[in-house]
Each structure stands twice: as C-alpha cells, then as structure tokens.
Amino acid sequence: MPKIVGIDLGTTNSLVAIVEDGTPRVIPGSDGNMLVPSVIYFDEAGTVLVGNPAKEKLIEKPRNTVFSIKRFMGKGIDDVRDDLPLLPFEVSPESEHIIRLKIFGRDYTPPELSAFILRELKRNAEAALGEEIKNAVITVPAYFNDAQRQATKDAGRIAGLDVLRIVNEPTAGSLAYGLDKRKQGIIAVYDFGGGTFDISILKLSEGIFEVLSTSGDTHLGGDDIDETLIRLVLGELEQQPDIHQLQAIRKAVNKTKENLSAADRSEIVVQELQYRRSITRDEFNKLIDPIIERTLRPCRQALQDAGLKPSEMDEVVMVGGSTRIPLVRQRVQELFGRVPHTELNPDEVVALGAAVQADILAGGKRDMLLLDVTPLSLGIETMGGVMSKIIPRNSTIPASATEMFTTFIDGQANVKIHVLQGERELVKDSRSLAQFDLKDIPGMPAGMPRIEVKFLIDADGILSVSAQEQRTNKYQSIEVKPTYGLTDEQVEQMILESFEYAEADIEARLVIEARNEAETVLNATSKGIADEQYANLSDGEKAEITAASKQLREVMRGNDHQATRQAIERLSNATMRLAELIMNSAIAKALKNKRVREIQ
C-alpha cells in the first residue's frame, strides 16, 4: 500500500502529516517549518512561490500575492462582495459562478490556486519520505457545503493527488487528541481557525467516533478579527491607504492580535504610515466580543440538534489558531462549564488527525472508525419555489434518499431537478447546488413515466444522482450543471494546464537553487582572495577570477539558471588552483602542528 498523507489545507497555514509506527507527525518543509503559509506569489515571468517566500511579498506585491483563498472556495462573486474592498485582488468579470482572480492577465480559480499549496505540501512530503506521494486525505470545515467540498477535491486533482477522503476538521481534531483511549463519552470540538468556525458534538464508544451534530460558519475566523482591527486603524487615519499600506496594516494588526494573547497591552505599529497606537487587551476584547458571540450561536444549535445540554459534555477540545485568544477560551469555558483541552498545538491538531484518518484508510488502524454527518439539509425545488427536504442535516454519511418524478406533457423527454442545500423553506433563501437534467425519457403519455431518482451523499459529503425509469428499467442519462463550481471538463482542462505550471515551478526552483549555489561560491571566492595564498597566483589567474566573479554576479540576477550554472562552473575552474594552494597550506600547517606535538 503506497503511503497516504493527511493534509490540512487551511485559510492561513497548511500542513501535511503522516502516521509512522502508529504515531502521527507533521512533515516540515525544506526550511524546517511545520506550517506552510497558504500564500501564493506570482511574478511576471510566470514564477510561482508558495509559503514563507510568498508571504514576504504580501506588502511589496499585493496584487499578485494571493492569501486566504480558502474563503473563496465554492463561491460566486455575490458571496464575497462585502470582503472585496479590503482585499487587494483583481477579480475577473467572469466570476458569477466561480470566482476568478486576474493575475498578469490570466484568470485563476480558487481550486487552481489551492492546488499550488497542495503541490508544495506534496513536494515536502516526497522530499521527507523519499517516495512519490499520490494519495491524500484533505480536511475541510465541517460546515462546508457541497460546492466547497467539491472545490477542495478539484484542487487535489489539479495538484496530482488522488483525494481518498475529505474529512471534517473538528472530527480530525478529535482523532488527533487520542480520545479513543477513553471508552465512552460525549465530546464537543470547538474549531476556530483563520477563516472558518465549526462546532461538532461527537459520541465516542469503543473506538467509534460518531458525530451527533455539527454547525458552524464558513465565513468566520481570525481574518474577521484582523479586519475589525484594520477598520479601527482606517478610522484613525487621515487619508485612504493604498493597497501596499493596507497590507502593511493587515500584517501589523495580525502581530498585535498575537501579542495580546500573552500580554495585557500591545501596540499597533505601521511603519509605512508612521502610525502607532497602544491597545489594551480589554479594548481588544470589547472589539472582538461580537465575533466570538457569533461562534456561540452555532454551538447552541449543535447542542440542540444533538439533544444535549452543555453540561453533558465529557470533554471539550479546542482546535484552530484563533483558540489561542484568551477571551475565546473564557467564553467556551463559560458555555460548557468546563476547562477545554488545549494541550496540543492548535495549528497542528487537524493535520495530525487527517494523518490518523489516512492511516485508517491505509488499513493501519481497524479498531477506529469515524462516522461523520452532512452539515446541511439536502432538498429539491418543488411547486411554488418551495424547498422540499429529502436528507436532513446531521444525517450520518453516506446517506441517500429516493424520489419519484414523472412528466407533465405527452412525450416529454427531459425533466429538470433543481437540488439545494440549507435549512430555509424557500428556494430563494437556499443555496443552489446543481441542476440535474434527466434526458431521453422514453416517449409516454404525461404522468406515465415513473422515474426513480436516487440522491446519494458519499463519505466525503458530496452528492451524486442516478435515475432509473421504472417501467422500462432504463437508466437515465443525467447532465449536471453545478451552480457554483467547475464541470468535470473544466477540471480536466486545468489539470492539463497545470502541467505547464508544474514545469514553471521546477524552473523557478532551479533558478533559486542555482542562485543559492552561486552565493556560496562567491562567498568562498571572497574568502580565498583574502587568504595569504592569493599572492602566489599569477596576474592572469587573478584577472580570470575577477572576470568570472563579475560575470556570475550579473547572470545570477536573471532567471536563466543554466547561464548561472555555467558561470558558477567558470568561477570554480578559475579558483581551482587558489583552492589547492589554500588546502595544501592548511594541511601543511596541520602537519607542522602535529610534528611539533609529536616531537614534544
């Protein structure tokens, strides 16, 4: 069985983890960091940087440095209009059904952008594990709808990963906490991340983690706290900042927010605007209290759906970076009347849990089983614009429902089914999921065909539909038009296009590696010139070293890694004799010392 990794594709940071010898661990990147910031930087030449190198470009290159892309997954332009004023991105006009960010004249959808992050994690895992990684479990917020889950799966495919399972983040969190060591119990997982909030109530019995209910808000997280602070700063500025300054404010308030988790007082310092302001934790708490209050409503809903009182929880687990905020811990403790678990690093919990689930799928752990639920009711549009629910929220998945359809006109060949998600009564208040077009219905008088349509939500929480005409036993062909998201053909196209990007990625990597090596060689050369042995070189040799150094310094700034390599080669050759002389003299010195000691 090839290795399966667990991936936490986060709003702010992403991680990859694996279970080895029964223990999950996070795999660090080449720079040794466990967290890969979910930031992607593009330059004019088509180079793409992901993670920390990209994060450094946030202020300098705001237009082409993408962050928090998870908030756009499975969304259309109308869903995010309120966020856009505070974001530096250029949105393509063709963003009605799927948001497209325009970067150097090319449109990128959120799954394509997320795929860059996934590819980086895949590479990190491959470098650390020494084998190709093709299979992954990827986590999503429990409250993600069908389109958001599908978008995540699409991102995996574009990145060349077979996504074996989409796992809900709070559920993964509970797996990571090793709570299976207690045999029975009710667990509440409060997951407050960078962009999303989830609450899940689980019942644990003999290794079976059964989710009883889940609720949340896929647009509520640390980003909202940052934005509250950004608005505070904007209100105190005399002029409207440009996008560079806006990003500088974002960075500054984020730092202040983190400081205030440990200190009672901090400062917001924006060098670029010569802005400086002191802020106490009390002031901060007052500002963010409405945001934290918004997390408590889903908590109460989940408890009600599970038919449980807050006091009936045996354990409360905290997941996600925003749970570091003292006021968050205080509010959760007040609600449940118990001190929540915070032992594990809240940034790593979800990735570790994803690795545990990956291990279950790989056949490593058969005593554990996760039974998750669908967070939203599934329904179909019926007469009068009413949504008729066919699979209620909090149903254990996989789940299915069967409905009968017929025709209204003699010889009618097509029937359209509009599928929705949500809890509201009317179609207009629900989230449209897709239009399913049943085609080639056998010619019969109106009302005669009996078409049995089966709606199936799989273990990833993603819907599929099949239909069979009962009189003829004929399976109907169905055309699916997702309301928000990509068709299969579009995903295929993106996979093809991503190959050229994979090449561009390799190119960028080679350029960076060549530059690093050039710097090493240039440093060594400077040291050599400073050495006393340099004087023993001929004038011709010295001139060649000077010329080769100059050439290398020039070409290494460009993107031609082959030219850089050639210049490195030339300089290495030019300094060969110098290196020999230095080496010989060092050996001679070492031997001399030795002889002295031996003589003594």
Partner: protein, 175 residues
C-alpha cells in the same frame, strides 16, 4: 431490502434503541467505505451504497416518529400534513390567530410563551396517542390479527401522523 430487514427486525414499532445502536456499530465496522480504500471500484461503490442504506435505516428506525412514518409507507399509506385536524378545528383556529399576532410582532413575551406551551401540550397529546397506537400495532401483529384489523390500525396511525404533522408545523413556526 427495507429498513427493518437491514437490522434483521420484524415490522414492529417497539424497538430497543440500545440494541439497535449496537447492531448499527457492528454493521458499520463491516461495510464502511473506509475499509474499502484498496478494493476494486465496484466494491467501493457497493460499500458506499450498503453503508448509505444502513445509515438511512438507522436514522429512520431510532426515531419513534420516523419509524411509524416509514412503517405505514411500506403498506402504501401516506400522512397528509396540510390538513387541519378535525378534532382540534376550533382550537387550531384560535392558535392561528395568535400566531398572526406573534408574526406581526404585536405579542408580548408572555403571550408567545403561552402560545408555545399550548401548542406543545397538544403535540404531546398526539405523541402519547401515537405511542399507544404503536403498542396496539405490535399486539395485533404478534397475535396474528385479521387483515382488516391491520388495515384499520394502519389507517389510525396515518390519521394520528397527519394531525400531529399539522401541529408540528405550527410548533416549528413559533421557534
């Protein structure tokens, strides 16, 4: 395969939910798609279908009301939730009037609470009626009653479901 068959149960309405849960967990350990990652595509699809059926069955049978709703459909009966319960015609008329006041925001907190209590009391009356009718159903089946009696009991269960569905909708509107 119907939901009772999934759990190897007769078509009775009295179900030991603790035993049901135990069987549910045992069957989940056997068929869950998580254990079929390396299986053939056909086996994978089968695992998803079987587990979906198992989950649908468990969701339906563990809940006393859904259990009755499901049972009657197996015999071709269907409740009608849009009909006003005949036995409550006048009371429902009054409740609806009060509900209008609540919706228009003209009712006080006490009035809303009192209305909710009224509706709840009626819903609970239906719940106990349904409970009794369910016990009667099990008795009839176990004693091998005549077809006519079984049909009459199914009609009675359907009637109670229809009337309680109306009250349940009203209850939903006050929350």
């Amino acid at each position: 395969m119907d939901y009772f068959e999934v759990f190897g149960l007769p078509r009775l309405l009295g179900i030991d939910t603790a035993a049901l849960e135990k069987t549910f967990h045992q069957l989940s350990r056997k068929y869950h798609p998580d254990y079929f990652t390396t299986a053939s595509p056909a086996e994978k699809t089968q695992a998803v279908r079987v587990t979906a059926l198992l989950n649908d069955a468990y969701r339906t049978l563990r809940h006393p009301l859904h259990r009755v709703e499901y049972l009657i459909t197996l015999f071709g009966f269907k409740p009608d939730g849009s009909r006003v319960p005949q036995s409550l015609l006048m009371e429902v008329f009054e409740i609806n009037e009060q509900l209008e006041e609540v919706k228009a925001g003209r009712a006080s907190v006490e009035e809303v609470d009192s209305l909710r209590a009224q509706i709840k009391e009626k819903r609970e009356r239906f719940d106990s009626e349904l409970q009794q009718a369910s016990i009667d159903w099990d008795e009839l089946i176990k004693s091998g009653a005549a077809e006519a009696k079984i049909q009459a009991q199914l009609a009675k269960l359907t009637e109670i479901l229809s009337e309680s569905a109306y009250i349940r909708n009203l209850e939903g509107e006050t929350h």
